[in-house]
């Protein structure tokens, strides 16, 4: 079972490496969106600093949404998905490897560039590490929930827009807790509680999302 997980993870990382230019696109998108805010709102430092945490979080969320559509699309089109479903391994385990690879390839570069974007908008001091922590918990949560929704829509045409409409309402609590933690840290208030909520939700999603995703994929193929 561990060998299958490793084979799957290795496959996805190798595929991402062969198309490493694609991993750069969400990062460039995030940089551009974050750059638009000062142009739209004016260079007033206090205003930008106040909204910086929220802007970065929403930017990262939207960037992840760009590539979420492709999580199972390639495997569906070349038939690899059927071979994964038919493999004598727990499908949830293989799906978990797929999700981990997606997070590593898509979210990690965004997390790496996020402090820079936040700094550009004027986020300073102790709120910086809190933003990083909030992103480290919020992005895998988004990846897990997003993968389940992707699995549900994998058979439908033009699933990208549908996916956005389904994911964004579910992302609201994640954004509220993550931005709440950053906002509290900016004002010097305790920020542990919202971060703990994110961590709790992530713990739940790590266990449940692969199972839900595996079931959704089986349903998608049964037609």
């Amino acid at each position: 079972m561990a060998a299958a997980f490793r084979a799957m993870l290795q496959r996805d990382l190798l595929l991402a490496w062969r198309r490493r230019g694609d991993a750069l696109l969400p990062v460039l998108y995030a940089v551009m969106v974050a750059t638009l805010f000062p142009f739209a709102l004016g260079p007033e430092h206090t205003l930008l600093a106040r909204i910086s945490g929220g802007v970065v979080l929403v930017t990262v969320l939207l960037s992840m949404l760009l590539s979420l559509d492709a999580v199972f699309r390639g495997d569906l089109e070349d038939g690899a998905l059927e071979y994964l479903v038919l493999a004598p391994q727990p499908l949830a385990l293989l799906v978990a490897a797929r999700m981990l690879a997606y997070w590593l390839v898509t979210a990690l570069p965004l997390i790496a560039v996020a402090p820079l974007l936040a700094y550009m908008l004027g986020l300073e001091g102790p709120a910086q590490p809190v933003l990083l922590l909030a992103l480290l918990l919020a992005t895998p949560l988004l990846a897990l929930i997003g993968s389940v929704l992707t699995a549900l829509t994998v058979g439908t045409r033009r699933s990208g827009m549908l996916l956005a409409l389904m994911l964004l309402p579910l992302a609201v609590p994640i954004v509220i807790f993550a931005a709440g933690a950053v906002g509290a840290a900016q004002q010097g208030l305790p920020w542990v509680a919202p971060v703990a909520w994110l961590a709790a939700a992530l713990a739940l999603a790590v266990v449940l999302a692969p199972l839900a995703c595996a079931t959704a994929l089986r349903i998608a193929l049964d037609s």
């Binding site: 060998a3 084979a7 799957m8 595929l15 070349d78 479903v85 038919l86 391994q89 193929l221």
Partner: protein, 213 residues
């Protein structure tokens, strides 16, 4: 992985009154047949007669509307059934950005490997010597098929479900499929093979399942 001798295993495929309906329209059935070990069964029928659907039901991807199918004594798609089964469909499931060798290693990572088999030797056997390190997307349709056949022959599965394995292959490729099937059957394996009847099959066929629309 189960390693008991083939003869002590339950029947690879046992089908009783199997019916599949799509939106209340019957695709095939009712079907009754068994495929024993050391047997290659050929599913014949015209386009649209339900050959692929039958294979997908037996693989466990689709749920039968009525009747019962048993794969190694278990329900299709169950852990026991999947542990002994390998499929090859219209879509080969090869990753275009990976090389044939990487695709074979991936298949072995997911399905396990038959003892004593080596991916490089298998690539030579299917006629892909020298193509092991080219990306699969640059190969021809026939070469992709050969890569998928090499992967199939490496897996420890005792039941093969092959959907149109002769498509895209040249004369040597067709002989290769027949050869792989013969070796598989001689080693105690079973196979369910679909064909629309255009290709003459080798002499080892034990039974034919005819689907009529």
């Amino acid at each position: 992985m189960m390693n008991a001798s083939p003869d002590s295993q339950p029947t690879p495929i046992d089908v009783r009154g199997l019916v599949y309906e799509r939106r209340d329209e019957r695709v095939f059935g009712p079907l009754d047949f068994t495929v024993e070990a050391r047997t290659i069964a050929l599913v014949e029928g015209d386009n649209g007669s339900g050959k692929t659907t039958l294979l997908r039901v037996i693989a466990g991807l689709l749920r039968a509307s009525a009747g019962e199918a048993r794969v190694f004594g278990s329900a299709p798609g169950s852990d026991e059934a999947r542990a002994g089964t390998a499929s090859l469909g219209h879509l080969l499931g090869l990753k275009g950005d990976l090389t044939p060798r990487e695709n074979l290693h991936l298949g072995m990572g997911l399905y396990g490997c038959k003892p004593g088999e080596d991916p490089d030797a298998m690539l030579c056997r299917v006629g892909l010597e020298g193509f092991g390190d080219e990306p699969v997307r640059t190969l021809s349709a026939g070469q992709k098929k050969r890569t998928a056949l090499a992967r199939l022959a490496l897996l420890p599965a005792r039941l093969w479900l092959l959907d149109e394995p002769y498509a895209n292959l040249d004369r040597h490729g067709i002989a290769l499929v027949n050869d792989l099937l013969a070796v598989h059957a001689a080693a105690g394996g079973a196979a369910l093979v679909t064909s629309h009847g255009a290709v003459s099959f080798h002499q080892g066929v034990a039974c034919t399942i005819r689907l009529t629309p």
